[in-house]
């Protein structure tokens, strides 16, 4: 078992008398990357501030490397953590002085601190700016300096509070893989607060979904998308197709489901181990677009247990292919690969949506 670097036990945080965070248990283990996602006000940033020891819990304990954090030892414990905030907060000094600040605070001599910080500035491609005033940098440059500063102290955990939200899409697209690669190289753990689901999935091995101050789901990113525990978690994870259906029949390990309000349209789903279904039961099912294929009738598309014909009611071009909304008549979001797009997809086109029964997930808790 990997060792826990940050551990929450029975942590509660309040603001103006209201509980804004209630986390009975939460662990960031060595080397793992976790993304915290959830709507505004879910408590993501509060959790990150508690993990960074920037505020004490109102109840419960936070331990860092098995030491319980107190007001007295917080400054020392913080030195194994690095925080990058939403906007890069750089001080009115040179880029190098900013990048080396954490090391200087740890008592490193200036020459050592600047040499080490210089390596990180180089890694993030901003070594040429070392002598510039930090306040004269562009947003992207400042973010790179803030990341270099965060890595320069060789932290066991990086705590990232939406570090890319102020950046334009191309800059974000170039920084995210750089950060991910750096985390792999250094084996540092990371906790990322983000609103951006793509960012979360691109970044993290594990996802924690938060709402109303609680962690309502957590687990391996791919596993959570494939099998969200509740309907709400599926919504917060951005799973494109969520349907209500009625169990019409059971055949071995599969069930035939009639989609509510879809005039007899039905699909087949694998029954998860341990789930007991009876004909007539109402269930909620999720189907990520990535598990689906849309193709034109008559073309050589995949065939299987689920091949639902319908009309395209929405088209969104994506680098990975076209994402279609197909009324089957239930609305299913499906992907069409570029290689089958002989002609451009348009609203009103006929399409067949195909997906394997194993990828239709019956949500255990439909709330």
């Amino acid at each position: 078992m990997t060792s826990a670097i940050i551990q929450f036990s029975g942590v509660i945080a309040r603001a103006a008398g209201q509980v804004i965070l209630d986390v009975p248990e939460f662990v960031v283990a060595a080397g793992e990357t976790i993304a915290l996602i959830g709507p505004n006000g879910a408590g993501k940033s509060t959790l990150l501030h508690l993990a960074a020891l920037l505020r004490p819990p109102d109840a419960g304990i936070v331990t860092i490397n098995e030491t319980i954090a107190t007001g007295k030892n917080a400054a020392a414990l913080r030195r194994s953590l690095s925080v990058v905030f939403q906007e890069p907060i750089l001080f009115d000094a040179s880029v190098m002085a900013n990048a080396a600040a954490g090391l200087r605070f740890q008592g490193e001599p200036r020459a050592v601190a600047e040499r080490r910080a210089g390596l990180w500035l180089e890694w993030f491609g901003v070594q040429g700016l070392a002598d510039r005033k930090a306040r004269s940098l562009s947003g992207g440059e400042a973010s790179r300096v803030a990341l270099a500063r965060a890595f320069s102290t060789d932290p066991a955990v990086l705590l990232l509070d939406e570090p890319f939200s102020a950046l334009d899409a191309p800059t974000r697209a170039s920084l995210l893989p750089a950060l991910r690669a750096m985390l792999n190289d250094t084996r540092a753990a990371a906790l990322l607060v983000t609103h951006d689901l793509h960012e979360a999935f691109a970044f993290a091995d594990r996802i924690a979904v938060m709402e109303m101050g609680h962690i309502i789901a957590r687990g391996d990113a791919q596993e959570l998308i494939a099998r969200p525990p509740t309907r709400r978690v599926a919504e917060l994870l951005g799973i494109e197709t969520i349907l209500r259906a009625r169990v019409a029949g059971i055949e071995g390990r599969e069930t035939r489901l009639e989609i509510d309000g879809a005039r007899g349209a039905s699909l087949r789903a694998s029954i998860p181990a341990g789930t007991l279904l009876r004909p007539g039961d109402h269930v909620t099912v999720t189907l990520p677009a990535g598990a689906t294929r849309a193709f034109r009738p008559g073309s050589n598309g995949p065939r299987g247990a689920n091949a639902l014909p319908g009309r395209v009611t929405g088209v969104m071009a994506r680098p990975s292919g076209a994402q279609l909304v197909v009324a089957t008549p239930a609305h299913i979001v499906a992907l069409a690969a570029w290689d089958v797009c002989e002609t451009r997809w348009a609203i009103g086109d006929c399409a067949i949506v195909s997906f394997p029964p194993a990828d239709v997930h019956i949500v255990p808790d439909p709330t």
């Binding site: 400054a75 030195r79 953590l81 907060i89 001080f91 009115d92 000094a93 605070f105």
Partner: protein, 234 residues
């Protein structure tokens, strides 16, 4: 208006003519006011920073006291220091009354709340995320205060200028604890008051011009120290 113009001429004459009495007055003015400002800097900046950053019982009371102290009339400051320095006062044995040291003490009492109050305001106006970022970087208490002071150095320079301006121009405390003794405790303001009382308006104007010029030179030099501060980008 004639006095004004001839006063300007006499001021030039006093300075260029190498009048030793005038130069003694100028150097004492500078020595007393700069020393008092330095003391105010050493006491007021940490006090203002502590008020802005620390949370303790009675903090708002302390902040109120500092703000009230910013308006302390020089004559009251002089009286308080005199009470301590009079022969039968607690510090009477030191024989400091009517010495430049007493004047420095009284002027420091005037300038310290001004520097502390403006430091408090400057630190409070800083974006709170700076402090959070310093904590997150593992800065200790002293390191946090130092970096925050650096961040607020433009308004801090203004605080010091305000403190210096208050003491170089005051007359009540200087007369009360200094006594305006020729060659010993006479400064530009007390000398000006004396010349007016004698009816020597031209000399009074001359001394006033010298005082204005001196104040201008010192404040510009202080402002120059804060020149590297660049406006924060938002």
């Amino acid at each position: 208006m004639n006095e004004l113009a001839s006063g300007l001429g006499e001021a030039a004459g006093l300075l260029l003519g190498g009048n030793p009495e005038v130069w003694t007055i100028i150097s004492l003015s500078l020595r007393v006011s700069l020393s008092a400002t330095a003391i105010a800097l050493l006491l007021g900046v940490p006090a203002g920073a502590m008020l802005a950053l620390a949370r303790f019982r009675g903090r708002s009371l302390a902040v109120g006291a500092v703000y009230a102290g910013m308006g302390l009339p020089p004559i009251v400051a002089g009286l308080i220091v005199s009470l301590f320095l009079w022969r039968n006062g607690p510090l009477g044995a030191m024989g400091l009354l009517y010495t430049p040291t007493a004047m420095i003490g009284a002027q420091a009492l005037i300038a310290t709340p001004i520097v502390a109050g403006l430091t408090f305001a400057a630190m409070n106006a800083l974006d709170p995320r700076y402090r959070l970022q310093l904590l997150a970087l593992g800065a200790g208490r002293a390191q946090t205060i130092w970096w925050l002071l650096r961040e607020a150095r433009l308004p801090l320079v203004a605080a010091v200028i305000a403190g210096f301006g208050a003491v170089i121009s005051e007359v009540g405390a200087a007369i009360m604890v200094g006594g305006n003794i020729k060659g010993e405790t006479r400064v530009l303001t007390t000398a000006t008051v004396l010349e007016v009382s004698r009816g020597h308006f031209q000399t009074a104007f001359a001394l006033s011009f010298v005082l204005l010029g001196l104040t201008y030179l010192v404040t510009v030099s202080l402002a120059f120290l804060g020149r590297q501060q660049q406006p924060a980008r938002r």
